[in-house]
Symmetry: C4
Subunit: 206 residues, 4 copies
């Protein structure tokens, strides 16, 4: 049987590993932006060559927003946990595997955003992340890993099936129109802001 101290240690190291993966995923993104190589006589073309990288800068910004958003959610979820068990540890490791993978589909999307396959790859990755987060939340609530206050906090979030449903539903849409699929994701960005404005009237709640 585990002692209290062991639980604290498990918890601290799980959070430390997770923060490490998030920090590195965030910082590695800059490597995906290429530096223009100009021969000595053509330095004057630098303006044009940097502007030409617009989609790479956009892809960097998108990746950063997505991973930072996932970190905020991960952080508010783990804040409510009193301890972690083996299943949460495994779910969290698989989740981190998809966080660390996310720069790849984001980069493909930045370069080939007009292709249904690029949108599909991204939606499948993000949908899986949503599914894993939902499974973790559901398990934590059932297994009593969450404090009563945390239970209320997590209960106030959107239904755990919402994020994966939106992303998985966008995959068939992408094969008709990639623009429509991208717009359908925006609903998820608008949703929490809407809910926060309508539902949460308590001060101090993030």
């Amino acid at each position: 049987m585990e002692t209290e101290e062991e639980r604290t240690f498990d918890f601290a190291r799980t959070v430390a590993l997770s923060d490490g993966v998030f920090a590195i995923a965030l910082t590695l993104l800059v490597l995906s932006i290429t530096v223009p190589t100009l021969s000595s006589g053509h330095h004057g073309e630098l303006d044009r060559r940097l502007l030409h990288r617009g989609s790479e800068f956009g892809s960097y910004a998108l990746s950063f927003v997505v991973i930072a958003g996932l970190w905020v959610r991960h952080h508010t979820f783990f804040r409510e946990l009193r301890r972690v068990d083996g299943r949460i540890t495994v779910l969290n490791l698989v989740y981190l595997g998809f966080v660390a993978f996310l720069p790849y589909p984001t980069r493909v999307l930045g370069l080939y955003g007009d292709q249904a396959i690029a949108v599909t790859l991204y939606a499948a990755t993000a949908g899986t992340l949503g599914l894993l987060a939902g499974l973790s939340r559901t398990h934590a609530l059932r297994a009593g890993l969450v404090s009563p206050a945390g239970r209320r906090q997590l209960g106030r979030r959107e239904h755990p099936a919402l994020v994966p449903t939106v992303f998985l539903a966008s995959i068939p849409i992408a094969w008709a129109s990639t623009t429509a699929a991208l717009l359908s994701w925006l609903l998820l960005a608008i949703f929490p802001a809407l809910r926060q404005r309508l539902g949460q009237r308590k001060p101090g709640a993030q």
Copy 2:
């Protein structure tokens, strides 16, 4: 002589460095998957070109599972330690050197899994990791670095020679058949699940 405070500090920094190496090794893996470069007229080929990278995605997943598995074992081992001494510090640093190296043989295996040398390189690295983990465990138990409760926990694990033996034994097998060698590793994946089901009847034990 060391004070209690110094021991705590040693312990905390050793764990912090280890978690850092694990987190970075996990996250660097994504850099090994190459993004297809398509000329502007051939964007339609993206599907085919991504599917062609199946082995690179597989190699990413394999690496992630292996390193995550090592982290869980490292984590449950350090959880039972009351303090670290010079020998554990050195063994741990050498161990981390092989953890940080692991993406290399995994990548070679992902690309050339049909070659005995690729399987040999991977088995030698994983076998060495098993050997170092076994040495650390044996030393920690002998030098009294483990609490009585931790002693029971670690005693319940498989024999420290099992993992290195399986991997080192798979090397000659690989030169007859790489498939047979890869299948022999699967026994190690099945073994802990079997043991957990049969041997550990206490609740809360990971």
Copy 3:
């Protein structure tokens, strides 16, 4: 409403993520220096080829000094905070996005320091970092996130608009003379040393 424990957790993870991003941004810089590739008969040319990389070494040193300087400021700012709220979290994440991006403009500046666009890209990034740091400070003071002692410490710093103003003002200068723009940044490096010598007479203040 948040409990005290939750606030501590938020704070600890925000600081951990930030330190991770700073540490990785600092360490990734070395990847931007290329190793000369010499054919076996021309090893003797190594001296000349390494000296030729002078601007890459300079760009590494500049990046390191800038990011280390930002870390010191980030660190002394967070030291004065009693807790973080949602807005500080968001401002900090955007700030980290620009910290992680900084190696890119620094590299472009190291290679093409004679081009106004390279200086502009760098000044815009650094100016945005200054702006975000200023916004964070102003918000923290207004929202009561700072202890009374911290309030005095932060009040002793330069005006929050100074850093962004100097950088944004250097952009038009760069299009007349890149050297003049680079020299205008040096004023910022001299300024804190001047202030420290003149204004702060208390011992122990960093």
Copy 4:
């Protein structure tokens, strides 16, 4: 004036940033080993091509040992500090800049170990690291940052000028014989083992 809490915070973040830089420098090394690319008909050449990378594996091992050794020294130094001041912070940041840079000269040395310039670059980097560590130790002792017990611990180390002197002295040797210069470094590896055997008779001292 700083409060006790502020000092603890400074200390914790300085250590966290340092461990991050060490962990990343250790883990990035694996990226410097290239994976052989074989056309589909020549997979059988993999053995030969991997063996051909012997110097890259050696350079990985050397880098890992050097950075791990620096981490142990950094760690035992910071263990004795009661607090950090501005000067230690700056010295530590410059030190970390050279730690993060070390993979570059190590790689050059691994590829061109027979060239005096490669040995010179490495010796200059390592010598500077030794010099900075010596300056930090001297400053910490003079400024009273070290506890009385730590003062005795640090006093038992070798003279702070030893490491930089050996490395800087090896530079002119390298221009006569690179082998002699490399052998002169080995003395430093033998020295601590010798001292530990002869001088330290207290139990528990690392």
